[in-house]
Symmetry: C2
Subunit: 308 residues, 2 copies
């Protein structure tokens, strides 16, 4: 078992989908990553920042799930990061309605002393320099560093993104972002280019079409579980990343074969996340439910072909 | 081993993609289905029609592959069906430039006498009434009837399509067509509706995102092999269907578990088809190459997760 450091936003979200809309609810990358990683009975710490307006009950939600929250700074006079978005009818695209950085604007993450030797580091979507500053604090080179990012940083901080990419082992990115980052339409070619930018492992997320894991010339494809309806996609990518990182931390095995399992675990957890608004489904999700759905993933993908 | 009847067009295609364009080359659903099914060492017959302008060498191509061509009618004074299309840059959509029905307009398929007891019938994309007329000629109820169709028939012959659908076991259809046929966005819900229209098995093709096989509440997902480039998608869906039907005919096993294998075989063959223009790649494809790529499909999808 390895220690896991999770860095990312802890935030308020307000979400509109064709199924309804929410007021300000719990959101943020580190929140979803933490809730997902909490299924693995590991030592995990969240590093983030919130304002004085952030309810204690949301922090309790994480600590009750055994996530160490000593690295979540509370800026009493500040306000919590707030994002609001509206999904289109196909649920594959969305418009951002509001982004209030608030305390996130000056966020200087501080990794708790007892987590600076963590073997696994999950860098949730943040400014690349903030992500880099976390790696600077680690006393040893971690066994595995996983980076999530988005097109926004490619637009405004590409050089910084390239700098942090050189220091990570795994990148998780969606298909359109992979294309933007490389200028290549083919995801196979895009992944190969991303390898040369640093990450040995490239995970390309394709939403309802699943996720691809590339490692040199090897590739693994985890489908998304076909669902009757996707209620709210918010946090699905972070939940995937949290499941991936949590499984690696639990097993301590960073081989390509074990990463396949990590991708399946991530996909499984993400399939729950989208069933309800925000963190609602993840707050009550039980391990038995996860295991049952893992068996569905096996049935969904496994075959036993006989070659003549 | 079962006998396989293949019904569909044998045609001329002219294709434009971002990689180049062709003159009139060999095309047609029955052609691609036949070339794919020829990898299974089965008794298979193609039922179609061509004009006097159709080169003997194209017919030889099929018969050299052990496809019985006695059911391909040659209308000496007529011209062969011709289709021309241009693919967009993303290769996922295309415009039809020319459709000349020619001899296809009056096509009355005649199943060869010695194939009227065939166990497996593959109805390639044609007018639903033409597809029905083939089923009328079978002396026994076939063990498995597979139907391919397209949005065009939903637009102009929906009632006829519903009639033939009631008589088939498997339908292959792409995601947009499944949505058009049912009015449902979710493919899970769409598949359930299609079940009620007749087919017990519903295969939804998603192009570069693979294919889904639905059977009651069970679902199987075969990814498409991630490729560096798709050179020409023409015939990929028919090649998939031919691989599916050929594998079922070869094994004589119509269980859901074996259909998973058939889907994988279909996907494997389709992954070759798109590598060159038209039938070019399929004309020279060797069984050893197919088997090698099947192993790639295994590596692409198989995992061995340990539950705690």
């Amino acid at each position: 078992m390895s220690k896991l450091v999770i860095v990312g936003t802890v935030a308020f979200d307000a979400i509109e989908t064709p199924f309804g809309k929410t007021d300000k609810i719990l959101g943020g990358a580190a929140t979803f990553i933490g809730l997902a990683a909490s299924h693995f009975d590991i030592d995990a710490a969240a590093v983030s920042v919130v304002g004085g307006d952030f309810p204690q009950k949301y922090l309790d939600l994480l600590s009750n799930r055994n996530i160490d929250i000593s690295g979540i700074e509370i800026v009493k006079e500040g306000k919590t990061f707030f994002w609001s978005g509206r999904y289109h009818n196909d649920m594959n695209s969305r418009d951002t309605l509001v982004t209030e950085l608030n305390t996130l604007a000056d966020f200087k993450p501080v990794v708790p002393e007892n987590y600076r030797d963590a073997e696994i580091v999950m860098l949730g979507n943040l400014h690349p320099n903030v992500q880099s500053s976390v790696l600077d604090q680690m006393v040893n080179k971690p066994k595995l560093v996983i980076l999530d990012t988005m097109n926004f940083w490619m637009d405004i901080a590409l050089d910084d993104l390239h700098n942090v990419m050189k220091r990570v082992d795994v990148i998780t990115i969606n298909d359109e972002e992979a294309r933007q980052l490389t200028g290549e339409y083919s995801l196979v070619v895009a992944a190969r280019k991303i390898h040369t930018m640093g990450p040995k492992y490239v995970v390309i997320k394709k939403g309802e079409h699943g996720a691809l894991l590339f490692y040199n010339d090897d590739v693994f494809y985890a489908p998304a579980l076909p669902l009757e309806e996707v209620f709210d996609p918010t946090g699905a990518g972070d939940t995937f990343a949290g499941g991936f990182a949590g499984y690696i931390a639990k097993t301590g095995d960073t081989s390509f074969d074990n990463m396949k399992n990590a991708v399946i675990f991530g996909s499984t957890l993400a399939s729950f996340c989208v069933e309800k608004f925000g963190t609602e489904r993840m707050e009550t999700l039980k391990n038995e439910e996860v295991h049952k759905r893992l068996l569905q993933f096996k049935q969904l993908t496994q075959f036993d072909i006989k070659l003549a």
